[in-house]
């Protein structure tokens, strides 16, 4: 049930427990218990809306930043990653395989704000060797939700 429950919550975390219970063919108590356990075990870390940021605010900017970082004794990349994560402007921090080390998503009200944040805060941080900033131009799909209107329901209103 755990996998199915998470699949449903991934798409819509606002479903009521009783709705989830009906969909999974279990009792409401089972759902409550499982969600509590998932939260307790830090598997569910939060519930957030999928927002088309650029549609909400034309000037808003999100950037993906590739960070090269020198790993530290004992801590590896974690110390820098945790520090980066402390900034409220930072939405996500991930350690990556490949050409760079940390993938950082930064959100700001405008281009300048994000650019300054990268140059003054991230690039200047101890252990950060280099940054490479990529701005999001348009969102097509986010967390499984398609944003483009090509995928609207094209079925005709009348069909058997």
């Amino acid at each position: 049930m755990r996998k199915e429950l998470l699949n449903l919550l991934r798409v819509n975390c606002r479903l009521k427990n009783e709705e989830l219970a009906a969909m999974l063919a279990v009792s409401t108590q089972d759902v409550e218990r499982e969600i509590a356990a998932l939260e307790e075990q830090n598997i569910i870390m939060g519930y957030s809306a999928v927002i088309n940021e650029e549609k909400f605010d034309k000037n808003a900017v999100t950037a993906h930043i590739e960070l090269k970082v020198s790993p530290q004794m004992e801590n590896g990349y974690a110390a820098v990653a945790k520090k980066v994560g402390q900034f409220r402007q930072v939405e996500s921090v991930q350690l990556m395989s490949g050409a760079y080390d940390l993938a950082v998503t930064v959100k700001g009200d405008n281009l300048r704000e994000v650019a300054l944040f990268v140059s003054e805060r991230l690039a200047a941080m101890d252990g950060v060797l280099s940054t490479s900033t990529h701005f999001i131009l348009e969102r097509f799909k986010e967390k499984g939700v398609l944003f483009s209107s090509d995928d609207d329901d094209e079925r005709s209103l009348t069909s058997p």
């Binding site: 199915e4 449903l8 798409v11 819509n12 479903l15 009783e18 709705e19 009906a22 969909m23 999974l24 063919a25 329901d153 079925r155 209103l157 009348t158 069909s159 058997p160």
Partner: protein
């Protein structure tokens, strides 16, 4: 000036226009309708199948095929029928048709003489009666009831049989009720038909969409039934391929041969590109089908719960992707309910009487929509019920 009324065929004029279409002509004139009415999957055809279609086009597979359909596809259909439903057919007993609908039409035309009777369980998909009537036959409705979970009873079949009875349509899993005939229930129907000269036209277009763990059973699987059954299947529902227009019929050689003869005069062959893509559907897309079936299952349970919570008694469907709530307690007829709901809340559902008179007092709601779409729409139906109730 031509007198068109005189020009048009009596049989053609006599058949009733589809109740679905009539109602949705009204809906089509309105904006911002939230529909719960569609009888086709909301999923797109799995990408692998689409790619095979593109490949067929690239290779220039743009000619007619043999009348019965390409051999590889007929062989794939037989393998699939064996693998999924324990049915043994050879490619010679298999005809590829333009959707399941054409197969129904061909089967009926292959056996009906003027005045012959065909038993048609109701509520059911809208096409059977008119197809029988166009062939000059008489459609005899067999009413299925909510008390029987909308299953066909052997008594109903027995009572309706006359010397003129040529065929029984067996539309299960059923659109619109979601009823399924399990093996023991089919055995009872088979017992009535064994030893008769009645052909079963088993419309199994929703065969893949059955819920609750037990697989679909075809009546052709039961002893002595294969020789008197035409099994009809299709790609539209299970593989989300409605627009490809492809289905099939398997059955006794004499019936299939005559169906093929009509088919070759009427349409030559089924769409070639679709046929090539369909081979992939049958052999490589089990995971896609499984994913879609699980989705419908989840939505079906959600819809049943919400309608029952609203006070609209709803039978738990065991197959297809519809729920069929009773609206009797509102005191409105199906048509009134649907028109009022459409006008006041801009929600389109299908009136139950479109599927036969016995569907009166019910509405058909399709689960072929995303969960969020379903929730939004059902919320409006609940508001509608509360407002309608307070007026009473």
């Amino acid at each position: 000036m031509i007198n068109y009324d005189k020009l048009l065929s009596e049989n053609g004029k006599k058949i009733k226009p589809s109740g679905i279409r009539k109602f949705f002509d009204i809906a089509a004139t309105m904006d911002n309708i939230i529909s719960l009415s569609l009888g086709e999957p909301d999923f797109k055809t799995p990408w692998l199948i689409r790619k095979k279609g593109i490949l067929a086009l690239e290779k220039g597979k743009t000619q007619y095929t043999g009348n019965a359909g390409i051999f590889e596809l007929r062989r794939a259909i037989c393998t699939y029928m064996k693998r999924r439903f324990e049915l043994e057919y050879s490619p010679d007993d298999t005809l590829v048709t333009v959707g399941g609908s054409e197969a129904i039409d061909l089967a009926v035309r292959a056996i009906v003489n003027p005045g012959d009777e065909v038993l048609v369980p109701e509520p059911s998909f809208v096409c059977y009666g008119p197809i029988v009537e166009l062939a000059g036959g008489v459609a005899v409705p067999l009413i299925t009831k909510v008390e029987d979970n909308f299953k066909l009873t052997p008594q109903a079949v027995k009572q309706a049989i006359t010397p003129r009875t040529k065929a029984l349509i067996l539309p299960f899993p059923n659109n619109p009720t979601g009823a399924v005939m399990r093996r023991d229930e089919l055995e009872k129907i088979a017992a009535v038909l064994r030893g008769t000269e009645i052909l079963i036209v088993s419309d199994e277009i929703y065969a893949e969409l059955t819920y609750g763990g037990e697989r679909h059973v075809s009546i052709a699987e039961l002893s002595e039934m294969k020789e008197r059954t035409v099994v009809i299947g299709g790609f539209s529902k299970a593989f989300a391929m409605t627009g490809w227009r492809l289905g099939w019929a398997c059955g006794p050689a004499p019936v299939i041969d005559l169906m093929l003869k009509i088919h070759q005069y009427a349409v030559m062959c089924s769409p070639t590109i679709s046929q090539f893509a369909a081979i992939t559907a049958l052999s490589e897309c089990d995971d896609d089908v499984k994913y879609m079936v699980e989705e419908y299952d989840v939505r079906r349970r959600l819809c049943v719960k919400i309608f029952n919570d609203m006070g609209l008694e709803t039978f738990t469907p065991e197959g297809a992707f519809y729920v069929f709530p009773s609206i009797k307690r509102t005191g409105l007829s199906s048509q009134e309910f649907c028109e009022k709901l459409l006008k006041e809340k801009r929600i389109a559902v299908t009136p139950g009487d479109a599927f036969g008179q016995s569907g009166e007092g019910f509405i058909r709601v399709s689960c072929a929509y995303s969960v969020n779409h379903l929730l939004t729409a059902m919320k409006r139906i609940e508001e509608f019920l509360n407002e309608t109730q307070s007026l009473c």
